[in-house]
């Protein structure tokens, strides 16, 4: 009995291994990914930018390019109607989804909403999302849709079907290229840039590189003060405001 169950399991494992090998078979030559700017530096006059990503893929493949933040917990407030007025009616935590996610494809079909089982796109995060708090059973799909709308509205999630350009390159390879908008709300930290080569619906290559976002100059200094030296930051805030107010008074007095 035991042996029979074991051999059944063994067969399933072999089958699973074969499927995985088929999905994640990486050719001898891995994709070379280039990200510009290599590190995003947020300075005092930063107003958003465009991220250029390019990666080598096998010729004849379609490409999916993703930029994603660390997976973590998204803390949200849910609004509801009580006594004919809209107010916060509870907290919702969504675990297992990144705070920032952009995805683009060369073929629009690769990002179609029905493709929920693929290892990219919103469908991936819908599968991984775990909901806690003010969510009734069966409401998960609605809450996730609202979550996506909120994130897209803030420029922190984005879907760009057909935005990736694929051009022939040397050695029977192809070059996948995309330009993605980076919103000013992006948080400093380490992100991942992934390039996936797809033939039909089969993943033939998936590579990734880390990408850094840093606050530099005055914003970096002020953030350090605000978080690490709050008393000094407070004195500076009060002093500067008083000086600005007083100076404008003196200037107008002279006139």
């Amino acid at each position: 009995m035991q042996r029979g169950r074991g051999s059944g399991r063994g067969g399933l494992l072999v089958l699973a291994a074969l499927v995985l090998l088929g999905i994640f078979a990486v050719p001898a030559r891995a994709a070379h990914i280039q990200v510009t700017p290599a590190t995003l530096k947020i300075h005092g006059f930063f107003g958003g930018t465009r991220l250029q990503v390019s990666g080598e893929i096998p010729a004849g493949c379609a490409a999916v390019i993703e930029v994603m933040g660390q997976g973590g917990e998204q803390e949200l407030m849910r609004k509801g109607r009580r006594w004919d007025l809209w107010m916060n009616v509870g907290e919702i935590d969504i675990k297992g989804v990144p705070g920032f996610y952009l995805v683009a494809s060369s073929a629009p079909r690769l990002l179609s909403v029905s493709q929920t089982e693929k290892p990219w796109g919103y469908g991936l995060w819908r599968r991984r999302a775990r909901f806690q708090g003010a969510v009734k059973p069966g409401e998960e799909a609605l809450i996730f849709k609202e979550f996506l709308q909120l994130k897209e509205g803030r420029g922190l999630y984005g879907r760009f079907p057909g935005a990736v350009e694929v051009a022939a390159a040397e050695g029977g390879r192809a070059q996948a290229r995309v330009s993605l908008p980076i919103n000013t709300r992006i948080a400093p930290g380490t992100y991942r840039v992934c390039v996936t080569a797809v033939r039909g619906w089969e993943v033939v290559q998936r590579s990734q590189v880390p990408w850094r976002v840093e606050m530099v100059g005055t914003p970096g200094f002020l953030t350090f003060l605000a978080l690490k030296r709050p008393v000094l930051y407070g004195i500076l805030a009060l002093g500067l405001a008083a000086v600005v107010g007083f100076l404008s008074g003196v200037l107008f007095k002279r006139k």
């Binding site: 947020i42 300075h43 005092g44 006059f45 930063f46 107003g47 958003g48 998204q74 803390e75 949200l76 407030m77 849910r78 609004k79 509801g80 004919d84 007025l85 809209w86 107010m87 916060n88 509870g90 907290e91 919702i92 809450i143 609202e146 979550f147 709308q149 909120l150 509205g153 803030r154 000013t184 709300r185 992006i186 948080a187 606050m215 005055t218 914003p219 970096g220 002020l222 953030t223 605000a226 978080l227 709050p230 008393v231 930051y233 407070g234 500076l236 805030a237 009060l238 500067l240 405001a241 008083a242 600005v244 107010g245 007083f246 100076l247 404008s248 008074g249 107008f252 007095k253």
Partner: protein, 307 residues
């Protein structure tokens, strides 16, 4: 062509000319009406994408500039009653601290946001309607060539019935210092709960309850509000790390200039006209907040601590 200014605590960029313009407009209201203008500035900052917590805290920081500039201008014109201002400020600081504690408890109950907005609607509605009716009556009396003001005799009698009567020479009123102390405490409490300086409540109450002349109300409120907002800003910096100095400074430069323009303009306008204008603004803000509570929101979710 825009010149974006990155706001590191708000984590957002805004056109610097837009921030300066907002500062000048709201700062001029400060100079005219003697209010910090937080109840106008905070919703406007939220509308341009600043997280509410950062908007309210940074606004209290910039009010210091407008209030310093405005009160200095009014002081030069002899329009600040320091004696009354100190009693109001003492009550205000105690009330503000109590208010912040109350709002912490309410946040744990999860209804703080709604309660804040509901309190706004009720208070702005009451204060705005009363001021509007009273100022229209005063304008009609002035047009008919009649003297006197529409202050409530009941309030004035209450002030005179309390112990430790004191003469406030500058304002020309005799009343117990307990009245400005309690008034400061009450407004500070509400301001602490709502996260603002409370000038839009304080100004009408100083005029109607304390019987102060309107030109002294404006300067004296700005004087005490500068200190009140300094206290709020410091607490917000140390406890919550939500004051964006870049945002506050950009607004402060604009509001410092605006406050000067406003205080000059206020000399050319009569008290009842000022009250009428302020009543209209207060009621407009009340209607905007009420609609926000009644109409279907754009998103049924919001980022915690952001939206």
């Amino acid at each position: 062509m825009t010149l974006d200014l990155y706001l590191p605590i708000a984590r957002h960029s805004v056109d610097i000319l837009l921030l300066l313009g907002l500062g000048v407009i709201i700062g001029s209201f400060s100079g005219i009406f003697g209010i910090g203008g937080g109840f106008l500035m905070t919703p406007l900052l939220i509308m341009i994408g600043i997280p509410p917590t950062v908007a309210a805290a940074s606004d209290s920081n910039q009010i210091i500039a407008a209030a310093t500039s405005g009160s200095y201008a009014h002081y030069r014109m002899g329009h600040v009653d320091l004696q009354m201002g100190i009693f109001l400020l003492a009550g205000n600081l105690v009330g503000g601290t109590l208010g912040v504690e109350i709002i912490k408890k309410l946040r744990h109950l999860g209804e703080a946001g709604f309660l804040i907005k509901a309190t706004y609607v009720v208070l702005l509605g009451l204060v705005g309607t009363y001021m509007l009716v009273e100022s229209i009556k005063s304008l009609r009396r002035a047009a008919a060539g009649l003297e006197g003001r529409a202050g409530s005799p009941l309030y004035l009698r209450l002030g005179q019935a309390l112990p430790w009567q004191m003469y406030f020479k500058k304002s020309g009123v005799a009343l117990s210092p307990l009245l400005p102390l309690f008034l400061g405490l009450f407004v500070g409490l509400l301001a602490g709960i709502m996260g603002l300086g409370g000038g839009f409540i304080m100004v009408p109450l100083m005029f109607y309850l304390l019987g102060m002349p309107m030109h002294l109300v404006v300067g004296t409120n700005l004087f005490q509000e500068a200190f009140l907002c300094a206290n709020v800003t410091f607490v917000q910096v140390v406890s919550n790390h939500v004051v964006d100095l870049t945002l506050a400074l950009a607004l402060a430069v604009g509001s410092g200039i605006g406050a000067q323009i406003g205080s000059r303009f206020s000399r050319k306008v009569k008290g009842e006209q000022l009250r009428f204008l302020l009543a209209v603004i207060i009621l407009a803000v009340m209607i905007k907040i009420l609609l926000g509570l009644m109409l279907h929101p754009h998103y049924i979710l919001d980022m915690k601590g952001v939206g």
